[in-house]
């Protein structure tokens, strides 16, 4: 297993997760549906997680993988809060498009 990784080389992992990360960013930038924006953010986080794991094997060191657990837990907590807010918004204005959130400006 390890040798395969070595053959692939760490750069590819970095590229992959950078690409994923950017996809996430673009998702956040271009989609207007709050749920999808959440998902894009999740993609970003997971891209990072992937990279963590890759690095942790690269360095032969478990900390990275431990960190992934932290970040997953945090992500879960975040999304929980986010969804809660989303629900209350949906109750109030009956829509979850972030374009409707423009009352605060100037």
């Amino acid at each position: 297993m390890g040798n395969i990784l070595n053959q692939i080389g760490i750069e590819n992992y970095i590229f992959l997760s950078v690409v994923l990360f950017c996809i996430g960013i673009f998702g956040v930038l271009y989609r207007r549906n709050a749920i999808i924006v959440f998902m894009s953010i999740e993609i970003m986080l997971n891209a990072v997680n992937l990279l963590f794991v890759a690095f942790s094997t690269y360095h032969q060191d478990a900390q990275g993988q431990v960190f992934v657990f932290f970040s997953m837990a945090v992500a879960a907590a975040e999304v929980a809060v986010g969804l809660a807010i989303l629900v209350s918004i949906f109750r109030n204005i009956g829509s979850i498009s972030i374009d409707n959130l423009k009352n605060l400006k100037g």
Partner: protein
């Protein structure tokens, strides 16, 4: 002892002033008048004592009170110098002063602010004395501006009339222009000799080698400008005629006898400076001559009795400066004294006339007062003879001295001077004839009240008339008591002494003839053909120009006053607003940016994140580039 005398001399008028200011109203008119008069009289007595002392000892008294202003290189103390010159001046200032005070008691009796009038008069005397006896230029300057202030107050004494106030303001400001000159002169002198003290200055200059003469001349010129302001010489003379707005005693005291001679006093004081600045002396002589001529010409056609006297004063002062210009200081002083006598008398006389006519000043509405007020008539006649230079009256001697000196130095100026004096003779008698001869031209109602003034008015007139007659004796040609008396003051050997040769006698004759000629013309024009000056509107031609004083006031207005005022408006309306707009502008710009910036904050998350990412990319790429 001397100190106390000096202090009494100075402080009694001040005391009188204070008393009249604070208690005058409650004391009542007569009392306050009396106080004022007595105060001055005391000073007069003191001056007599001092005079006595000086003549006996023959040397001046120096009194130093305390340090006044310290400046690094010159230390100015508040001190007095009582020598021949100052005591002489004191004598006629306080003497004539007390006479005029006396006169005013009756003259001003109908005015509800009489106590104030006397307060101001006393204040004036106080400042005048300070001016005269100050031991250095700065003390003189106290008096110098002080008398200016008093003349401001007294010209504007009837302050309800804004024209009078304008006249007062004009007088003060024109004097101030002169004062600036005086200040600058002081600065230069102080810088050059690091003292302003007369005595020290005299010695320093006497001992000085390789003086910076150009600079000294500049100083002298500046000082002379100061003198011009005070003594109403071209170009700063226009205030004096306007100053006639004040009550007549004021005109007599301040604007004829004393204050206006301050300039001559100052120049005489600093003769050792002016002697070195010969070119400045020429300037003085020329200006003096021109002034005397110009003023005389204007005087020819004035119809306001006081205006005539005012212009004659200006012209007489011009003659004095003519003498000064030739370094004949004692001659000038001589004329100052005689002029003080007869001009004061004339003014008081005219005052008496005005009093009798209840404020009428226009000669066209007078006439035939000879019978009504004989004393006034005779006294004024004597003075007129004196001023016209009719032999053996005081004016004859003094004016003659001046013309002699002029003749010895420059014929043209002599001619100018003589012409001026001929004109003088003319307009003085024009005045006399119009006022006292023929029929009364005023209203019936005035005619009804015509009367000679009371004793308080006539007594001073008589005294002054006597002085005007015999005043000349103090400096008879040939043996002049005055010249000897003043001799110690002057650096150069005096040059008033002319051995009386044929030329002198012929010149005298010419002068006398000139005077008589002037009188004759006046006689023919206003007695024989008894014509009366036209009403203002149909005065024409040259006489119109003269009547309007060559339009000098208008010119000054157009050239100096109006521009300053319009400049002021311009500054106020444009520069000021512009500047503040500039400052506000900065704030406005910031606000504008803010206003635009608010539009950026659209509230859309998309945009916010977009900028976020942009910033991120910018920074990261910058890192890459920097590598």
């Amino acid at each position: 002892m001397d100190t106390n005398l000096a202090l009494i001399l100075v402080l009694t008028p001040l005391l009188g002033f204070l008393v009249n200011v604070f208690f005058g109203k409650s004391l009542g008119k007569t009392v306050s008048g009396a106080i004022g008069t007595v105060a001055v009289a005391i000073s007069f007595v003191v001056s007599l004592l001092l005079f006595n002392q000086i003549t006996s000892t023959g040397k001046g008294i120096e009194v130093t009170l305390f340090d006044w202003i310290q400046i690094s290189n010159l230390k100015i103390n508040l001190g007095f110098l009582l020598d021949q010159l100052s005591v002489l001046w004191l004598l006629f200032v306080t003497g004539i002063g007390s006479l005029i005070h006396l006169y005013s008691i009756s003259y001003m009796h109908d005015d509800e602010n009489m106590h104030k009038f006397f307060a101001y008069l006393n204040l004036f005397v106080f400042f005048m004395i300070t001016l005269v006896i100050g031991s250095n230029l700065l003390v003189l300057f106290i008096g110098w501006e002080g008398v200016g202030l008093c003349s401001y107050l007294l010209i504007g004494f009837w302050h309800k009339n804004q024209d009078y106030n304008d006249a007062a303001k004009k007088a003060f400001i024109m004097n101030r222009i002169g004062d600036l000159g005086l200040l600058i002169g002081m600065f230069i002198i102080g810088t050059m000799f690091s003292t302003l003290d007369y005595a020290t200055l005299k010695t320093v200059i006497a001992g000085a080698t390789n003086l910076n003469l150009p600079l000294l001349s500049l100083a002298a010129l500046c000082l002379f400008i100061g003198a011009c302001g005070k003594s109403a010489q071209i170009p700063l003379y226009t205030w004096l005629p306007d100053a006639m707005a004040g009550p007549t005693p004021v005109s007599a005291l301040i604007h004829a006898a004393t204050m206006v001679t301050a300039g001559i006093f100052m120049v005489t004081r600093l003769n050792f400076v002016f002697d070195l600045a010969t070119d400045v002396q020429t300037v003085i002589a020329v200006i003096g001559a021109i002034t005397s001529l110009v003023a005389a010409t204007i005087g020819l056609v004035q119809n306001d009795i006081k205006k005539v006297l005012a212009y004659s004063t200006v012209s007489q002062l011009g003659l004095m400066f003519l003498a000064l210009g030739f370094g004949a200081y004692e001659v000038a002083v001589f004329h100052v004294i005689t002029h003080a006598f007869f001009k004061a008398c004339l003014f008081l006389g005219s005052g008496s006339v005005i009093h009798g006519l209840h404020g009428e000043q226009d000669m066209r509405n007078m006439g035939g007062l000879r019978k009504a007020m004989p004393i006034t008539f005779w006294t004024m006649l004597i003075s007129s003879l004196a001023i016209s230079g009719v032999p053996f009256f005081s004016g004859f001697f003094s004016k003659d001295e001046i013309l002699l000196t002029a003749f010895h130095h420059s014929i043209p100026l002599y001619v100018v001077g003589s012409v001026a004096s001929i004109m003088t003779a003319f307009y003085m008698f024009r005045l006399m004839f119009l006022t006292f001869f023929k029929e009364f031209r005023g209203t019936e109602e005035q005619k009804h009240h015509l009367h000679e003034s009371g004793a308080l008015i006539t007594i001073p007139l008589i005294i002054l008339a006597i002085l005007a007659t015999f005043g000349g004796l103090i400096s008879l040609p040939g043996n002049s008591w005055l010249n000897e008396y003043l001799a110690p003051l002057f650096a150069k050997a005096t040059e008033g002494e002319h051995h009386l040769g044929t030329t002198e006698y012929t010149l005298m004759g010419v002068a006398v003839l000139g005077g008589l000629l002037g009188i004759l013309i006046a006689y023919i024009k206003y007695f024989k053909q008894d014509n009366v000056p036209e009403a203002d509107e149909n005065i024409t031609g040259l006489s119109k120009v003269l009547y309007n004083k060559y339009y000098v006031d208008e010119v000054y207005d157009a050239v100096f006053v109006a521009p300053v005022n319009s400049l002021s408006k311009f500054f106020r309306d444009y520069i000021e607003t512009g500047l503040s707009a500039l400052v506000f502008g900065l704030g406005k710009i910031a606000n504008e940016i803010a206003f635009q910036g608010k539009k950026l904050q659209t509230g859309s998350i998309g945009l916010y994140l977009f900028v976020f990412v942009l910033g991120l990319c910018a920074i990261v790429s910058y890192i890459f580039l920097a590598q």
